[in-house]
Symmetry: C2
Subunit: 150 residues, 2 copies
């Protein structure tokens, strides 16, 4: 599994905040209850999102979190990358340039690099806005059963 619950729940939190945006700060307990997820676990996840500059937070009573930007200005790749650390499909594709010592002669490396590119391309072109709008055509593409043909 490329994306663990950490990344999945992080996206769920972002979508929840995008939906319940208004202008107010939303408490984590509200999010946890709405999404039926462990608040304690979400705490560590939302901390990563917050430190990564994805959110604004307010401590103390009536505090909580809200999005730092508009939903259309978040792409899914950056959200998952922040929480997962890497989205590389294999261990021999590194984001920081470190790679296997056989890389120069490896015949399968272009395959993994190509796969990595396809994944990043897909996720980078979908925004938080697309998700809350339920833009199935963009997300499911040609494989969408009930998307209009134009």
């Amino acid at each position: 599994m490329m994306v663990s619950t950490k990344g999945r729940y992080a996206l769920t939190v972002m979508v929840d905040l995008a939906r319940n945006a208004a202008d107010a700060y939303v408490s984590l307990s509200d999010i946890a209850e709405r999404e039926d997820l462990s608040m304690k676990y979400l705490e560590s996840i939302i901390s990563t999102l917050n430190k990564g500059g994805m959110l604004l937070s307010l401590r103390g009573k009536n505090g909580g979190y809200k999005l730092a930007r508009e939903p259309k200005d978040y792409n899914i790749n950056e959200i998952l990358l922040l929480t997962e650390g890497t989205l590389a499909p294999v261990g021999c594709i590194m984001q920081d340039g470190v790679h296997c010592d056989k890389a120069a002669t490896c015949s399968t490396l272009p395959l993994w690099a190509g796969l990595d590119g396809v994944i990043e391309n897909y996720l980078s072109n979908i925004t938080l806005q697309d998700i809350i709008e339920g833009n199935r055509k963009k997300m499911l593409g040609d494989y969408c059963d009930n998307c209009e043909s134009n």
Copy 2:
């Protein structure tokens, strides 16, 4: 990581066999030595490939393995699927129809389904032959640095 060493080594073995095809059976110790991988570990991996109908095997002295079909008739998706069990990017996408009980209302599910489709589409369209030919254009697509522009 979506693809573990199991799947990666399985592909390495298939590529090695495709290269050293001839007509003869190739012993696992030869493959392990050429690819610089543990023979004992490869044993369990090649067993999966063999039982899955990807290979032909011959026991006893001078025995070994060879491809059951021509390299152009293997796509990478089927090789990885067999050895990894699943290539789903998240736990909530299952190959056998089992899914999360929130699926009906989940707003992120189309994203995961779309990602899954993109991965499967990419891997299904690349063959073992493409790899041994070093078809960088097909593997790296638009992201290829030194592919010809036509």
